[in-house]
Amino acid sequence: MIFSYYPGCTLKNKAQDLDRYARLSAEKLGVALEELEEWQCCGGAFSMGRDEIASKLASVRALNAAKEQGRDLVTLCSACHNVLKQANDAMANDADFSLRANNYMQLAAPYRGETQVIHYLELLRDRVGFEALKKAVVKPLTGRKIAAYYGCLLLRPSKVMGMDNPENPRIMEDFLRAIGAQPVTWAMRNECCGGYAVMEDRGLAAQKSERVMDNARDMGAEAIVTACPLCLYNLKKNTLKEGRLPVLYFTELLAEALGVKD
């Protein structure tokens, strides 16, 4: 199994763990992730303005590069996944935007949303299969009670993201079960951590993260996993020290279970 891979800028810097463990695990699972050449930053957020063109072109370039390689595009960072997926949807379904974007880029062939963007979790669920993953586990995380934190970007808008039921998702929980851990049921798993507002109003972000942390702890989790560097940051740095649970990238647990964590 070979896929194009879009790591995104954070994974090259502050979130290197998210990337490193994903690559190690993929190798163990027989999945080849080939990083796109010359990818650019997705911009971190998809502008909801339909007349915003330029800020979305970097994503379209990445999508087109994968198309030219004839491969599905794997993402890992929740934000990149959300941006690429929404840009792809706009290229496929918003005729006006698609026309303008193609006019700007003058590609060899117009891009119309042909590339399939899949998140690493979807790769595990739909391509590798959680059953196969379960078999590949060498150090099951038996007895570990983990809270799967989706945040906003993996699931919403569900009409575009299409990863799972946006209100009652199970992909991360199933993942946790596959590596032997025990997922915790908690309602705040799909509520916002405060996100980029940390740059504008740290207090606001802190409040949101605290509510998330609070609920995970209250429902008996001993750690939280996420796929988003910003969620990790907010939950780790923007919550009260007392009662703060460890926050990990899901790939770290995956690597641990597969026995490839260094």
Binding site: A15, A79, R156, Y196, M199
Partner: protein, 127 residues
């Protein structure tokens, strides 16, 4: 009421504000509610009325977290977050109206702050 502003916001957001049935679920689900002067349902309603200037002058436009909770949970598919974003774009697209500038960034950094936060904030708060 500035007719042009309203039309521009409807165009940028792509939202049909007339679909709103005034249930308030967007505001019920909004995580930033307490920080906002005008709330998601008010954005939809005030744009419908053409009451745009109050929205543009309000700090509420910088409090939306783009978490899509209102978009996902609106029973009528109105997508209030897109209206908020369109009003904010209307403001920051004007000359010198950036809410965050590169000069502000260094003071906000710490050793763990992910790049994602910086680029997202720049995208959301400035042009």
């Amino acid at each position: 009421m500035n007719k042009f502003d309203k039309e521009q916001i409807l165009h940028t957001s792509g939202v049909n504000v007339l679909k709103c049935m005034r249930c308030g679920k967007c505001s019920a689900t909004c995580p930033s509610y307490d920080e906002m002067e005008y709330h998601p349902h008010q954005f939809v309603y005030m744009v419908e009325k053409g009451d745009i200037e109050k929205l543009m002058a309000s700090k509420s436009i910088y409090k939306c977290l783009s978490c899509y909770a209102c978009v996902e949970r609106c029973p009528r598919g109105v997508e209030p977050a897109k209206v908020v974003e369109a009003v904010r774009l209307q403001v920051i697209r004007r000359q010198g109206a950036n809410h965050l500038t590169p000069d502000d960034i260094p003071a906000l950094l710490d050793e763990d702050l992910p790049q994602q936060a910086i680029v997202t904030a720049m995208r959301k708060y400035s042009k």
